[in-house]
């Protein structure tokens, strides 16, 4: 579904991605892992069109999307939820969500998408008339993910959806992502919470210094010595107990 080949990109003249190749198959959850500042967010931004790909190719659903404007990529069905829980604080929860369906010029479809999002995040329905600036971190993250779902994309890219949230909320968010994927969404998820991400995902990539260092099935990465040493604190005991 998403096929990135030898992608090079960066900011200004600073090169961050040095030829990244990555594939996401339809219906899969793929985890993108890596330490701080290795270029995970940069990769997502290059795919969603927020920054310019310098070279390489990005194919989505059989179409080349590198160089397209971000709103066009959204219209093709590929949506990114950025890191940092960015919403529009002066707008209500429902206005935030409706904006996510800006590209959808169909009232019935928008209404259906809104109900679907409220189904995943019932608390947002209760708070739909409140300003998003008044929400807790977890609720804000729900607004961001919900906004991403509003255009009914076929694939969603989530950038650290569990960052800076309380453990119970993290679990909630992961459960919901699992549900969203089960309902047919293809997911590329960037995570610092490597253990959780690998439990959720089918396949994983580890990015280091702007290239893919390790890739493999989630099962394999979980037992990979390098991954365990660098990102899992050496042990993966009790993993089933956590979900």
């Amino acid at each position: 579904m998403l096929d990135i080949k030898d992608l090079v990109s960066g900011y200004g003249s600073v090169r961050i991605l040095n030829g990244v190749s990555l594939k996401v198959e339809r219906g899969q959850i793929v985890a993108l892992l890596g330490g701080n500042g290795t270029g995970k967010s940069t990769l997502l931004k290059a795919v969603s069109g927020l920054i310019w790909p310098w070279s390489g190719s990005i194919t989505f659903d059989g179409k080349r999307i590198d160089g397209l404007r971000p709103d066009r990529i959204v219209r093709l069905g590929l949506v990114q939820v950025t890191q940092g829980k960015e919403a529009f604080p002066g707008m209500t929860v429902q206005e935030n969500l409706r904006l996510g369906a800006y590209a959808v010029r169909d009232r019935a479809k928008t209404a259906a998408a809104l109900e679907r999002v409220y189904g995943y995040f019932p608390v947002l329905k209760e708070k739909r008339h409140e300003l998003s600036g008044t929400l807790s971190g977890g609720q804000l993250q729900m607004v961001c993910v919900g906004r991403g779902l509003m255009s009914s994309p076929s694939m969603i890219m989530l950038d650290e959806p569990s960052a800076a949230l309380a453990p119970q909320v993290v679990l909630d968010i992961f459960r919901t992502i699992h549900r969203i994927a089960r309902d047919g969404m293809t997911v590329l998820i960037v995570e610092q919470n490597v253990r959780m991400a690998l439990l959720l995902a089918h396949y994983g990539y580890v990015l280091k210094d702007g290239v893919i260092e390790i890739e493999g099935s989630a099962e394999r990465l979980m037992h990979d010595d390098n991954v365990r040493l660098s990102y899992l604190g050496g042990t993966v005991a009790n993993r089933e107990a956590q979900l």
Binding site: L50, R69, P70, D71, V74, E86, A87, L99, G100, Y102
Partner: protein, 296 residues
């Protein structure tokens, strides 16, 4: 007492004009992150266009006003598309590119003045609108032109409010003003929305120009004075805040009018700045301004 009320009414109507220009400047600032220094010339251009429609096409005043708003708005879209886009794309007022933007604004102001000079000449032109007899309210006599400015200004502001608060288009404009990346990722065509924001800002300037036309003359130089007052208004109200622009505009108008009536008309242009200094001493962010705006 009646004298005071007269002065306040005159102040409110002139203030309405400042408020409309300040609204345009604030809207453009919030959407494009640039301070548009050519906005006085947009106001001037709007006034001339309105006058031409009124005289050459012989349309009544109200359709002329509306048409001038639309035409100037479209000219604004064109200006943004052709001249400002490359600069705004490189980043707004908080970046190095923002400096280039300010200089382009000054350049644009000179260019527009010269274009207007070539077309309409240097002589002030009258904008003779038959507003009819003054209306009597109690023992007050209100000239219709002032009643007009205030009510038309209010209508336009209500329209802008409804556009920004009640429509998806307005929601998208606000989204772009707040965070362009997130707006993009919501599927909004950000460059188009920026053009639209700029166009609406210019349309507001044109409305102000056509409204002031009948009580002042229309002339090439008319932009500078109003630009300075509108900036004072925007800063008094809180730069970037739309309600602040309206409040600031009305305050500047009234203070100026009272000052001219009671102290001296010779220093008319000074009162706005005395007000500005006083407000900044008490609240540096302006009356309705937030302390520091987080812009993405």
């Amino acid at each position: 007492m009646d004298y005071v009320i007269d002065l306040v009414i005159i102040g409110l109507s002139v203030g309405m004009v400042y408020a409309l220009v300040a609204l345009g400047i604030s809207l453009i600032f919030s959407g494009l992150d640039i301070v548009h220094f050519a906005h006085g010339e947009i106001y001037m251009l709007g006034a001339f266009i309105g006058l031409m429609i009124f005289q050459k096409l012989a349309l009544p005043y109200v359709p002329a006003l509306l048409l001038a708003i639309v035409v100037t708005g479209l000219i604004g879209v064109l200006i943004e598309r052709l001249f400002y886009r490359r600069l705004t794309r490189a980043g707004g007022g908080y970046t190095v590119a923002g400096m280039g933007m300010i200089i382009s604004g000054f350049g644009m102001s000179i260019v527009l003045q010269n274009i207007a000079f070539l077309i309409w000449g240097a002589k002030p032109l009258p904008f003779p609108v038959p507003f009819g007899m003054p209306v009597e309210v109690g023992n007050l006599t209100l000239p219709m032109s002032y009643v007009w400015i205030v009510s038309a200004g209010l209508l336009i502001m209500v329209g802008l409010h409804l556009l920004l608060r009640r429509t998806m288009l307005g929601l998208a404009m606000r989204a772009v003003a707040h965070n362009k990346d997130i707006a993009y990722l919501s599927g909004i065509n950000v460059p188009a929305m920026i053009s639209l924001t700029f166009g609406v800002g210019c349309a507001l300037g044109a409305a102000a120009g056509v409204l002031i036309g009948p009580i002042n003359y229309v002339q090439v130089q008319m932009g500078l004075g109003v630009l300075i007052k509108a900036f004072a208004a925007a800063v008094v109200g809180g730069f970037g805040s739309l309600p602040g622009a309206v409040l600031g505009g009305l305050l500047v108008g009234v203070v100026e009018s009272l000052g001219a009536g009671f102290i001296s008309g010779t220093y008319k242009d000074v009162y706005a700045f005395i007000l500005l200094v006083l407000v900044l001493m008490v609240k540096p962010s302006g009356i309705l301004g937030v302390e520091a705006r987080m812009k993405a």
